[in-house]
């Protein structure tokens, strides 16, 4: 039933697809890290006209499927003259989707800093920027690193959704192979195996990181 020769022959193609998957994952993650931070700051803002729409945006994005958002970006944006390649649309959609989750992570990280730290900084007459740079961020960041690692893995596992907007990543590669050879067993199973190995190894990495951070 299982054809090893066929499996080996398609492996280079699948690895090519994996390359796109990884590129999309890391670009989207970088995008989410930055946008998520901006969203978190904007949400904390005391300017209501800024914080309220941002809050609504976060709630909306979190409550709707990534797939629907991707379709919206890929098919609706062009109507307004913004034509995107599948990769750009995918990175944008995936990144935006997860930026709302990361903004919550940042928020909880910042909220976990005791009020005394802000007060101490004020008592020492630190500027607002100085307080953030020297007091808040150094304390808020280490505990959220493992959480962000888990979101990175989550994004990696969500990249197959990008195949729906015709990005030829790992799953789409397998589908194309399947359509051409009429053999779905090996390509799709191999995609599963590749995902399992990569996400299992990286989740062990996150656990290790968490342990080390806790020891400090």
């Amino acid at each position: 039933m299982w054809d090893w020769e066929f499996t080996i022959s398609i492996l280079p193609l699948l690895l090519e697809g994996l390359k796109i998957t990884l590129i999309a994952t890391f670009l989207a993650f970088g995008f989410a890290v930055v946008i998520g931070f901006l969203l978190a700051i904007a949400r904390r803002s005391s300017v209501k006209i800024l914080s309220l729409p941002v809050k609504a945006f976060i709630e909306f994005v979190r409550s709707t499927p990534l797939l629907a958002q991707l379709f919206f970006i890929f098919y609706v944006f062009p109507k307004f003259g913004l034509v995107l390649t599948p990769l750009v649309a995918g990175v944008l959609g995936l990144g935006l989707h997860y930026s709302t989750y990361l903004s919550e992570v940042y928020r909880s990280g910042i909220d976990s800093i005791p009020r005394g730290q802000w007060e101490a900084a004020k008592a020492l007459n630190f500027s607002k920027a100085r307080t953030w740079i020297s007091i808040i961020i150094p304390q808020a960041v280490p505990p959220i690193i493992p959480v962000m690692g888990n979101y990175l893995i989550g994004m990696f596992k969500d990249t197959p959704v990008l195949s729906a907007i015709t990005l030829v990543e790992l799953l789409q590669t397998a589908k194309i192979i399947g359509a051409q050879s009429f053999r779905y067993l090996e390509p799709i199973t191999m995609v599963g195996v590749i995902f399992l190995i990569l996400s299992y190894v990286s989740s062990l990495g996150v656990q290790w990181l968490e342990l080390r951070l806790n020891q400090r």
Binding site: F60, F71, F72, K157, Y184
Partner: protein, 208 residues
């Protein structure tokens, strides 16, 4: 629009059936991971790691396109229910396990001191308390599950997402259709989000 509503019904059906399966799987796997038999724990661990490690959409494709090679042919709906249920069951089993472990040991000991049987302790002392801890995280998984039902479109189930795409192909009113699809999903998921937040607040305020 009525066409779209038909899709909503399918989405809700799919969500409910998958959620029930996920709940059952989560309970079985959650308890199995607390088993004193290493082999039971081992098998459950494999189940959980496979479903957590291999991307939901890949699993949908595998069941829909690969299983027929083994003579098992499932409809798109069945595939959706099965895969979503098993997938979310694997994730949620951790919630079940950790909630049960979160109940202080003193509760079990008090049960023993009152000469209760292990099953009575589990049923009347541990579970009622653990269920309260479980509710918010399980609710969050339910929201994720609703969102994930959209993926079943990609194996051509006629759910909300599919109907949206179909109408779009016919009418080309892309902006309206996809906006509407987004809004409907939001209306399905957001009330749940609010309910869970209220629950969480009440729980942390100590009304148990």
């Amino acid at each position: 629009m009525p066409f779209l509503l038909k899709g909503v019904v399918v989405t809700i059906e799919l969500t409910i059936m998958a959620a029930v399966l996920a709940f059952i799987m989560a309970f079985i796997a959650g308890f199995a991971r607390l088993s004193k038999f290493a082999i039971v724990r081992g098998i459950t661990q494999v189940y959980v790691e496979i479903f957590r490690g291999t991307s939901l959409l890949v699993q949908l494709f595998w069941v829909y396109f690969v299983l027929p090679f083994f003579g098992i042919e499932l409809s798109a709906m069945m595939t959706g229910v099965l895969v979503l249920g098993l997938n979310y069951g694997a994730y949620a089993s951790e919630v079940i396990r950790s909630s049960i472990l979160a109940i202080p040991k003193g509760q079990t000991e008090a049960g023993i001191a009152l000469n209760m049987s292990p099953s009575l302790i589990m049923k009347r002392i541990i579970l009622p308390q653990a269920l309260l801890i479980m509710l918010p995280p399980l609710g969050n998984y339910l929201i994720e599950l609703i969102k994930s039902t959209a993926l079943v479109l990609l194996i051509t189930l006629h759910d909300l997402m599919f109907c949206g795409t179909m109408i779009n192909n016919v009418t080309m009113r892309t902006t309206e259709i996809y906006s509407l699809v987004l809004i409907i999903y939001f209306l399905l998921a957001y009330p749940l989000t609010l309910a869970i937040r209220r629950l969480e607040k009440r729980l942390s305020a100590g009304r148990l």
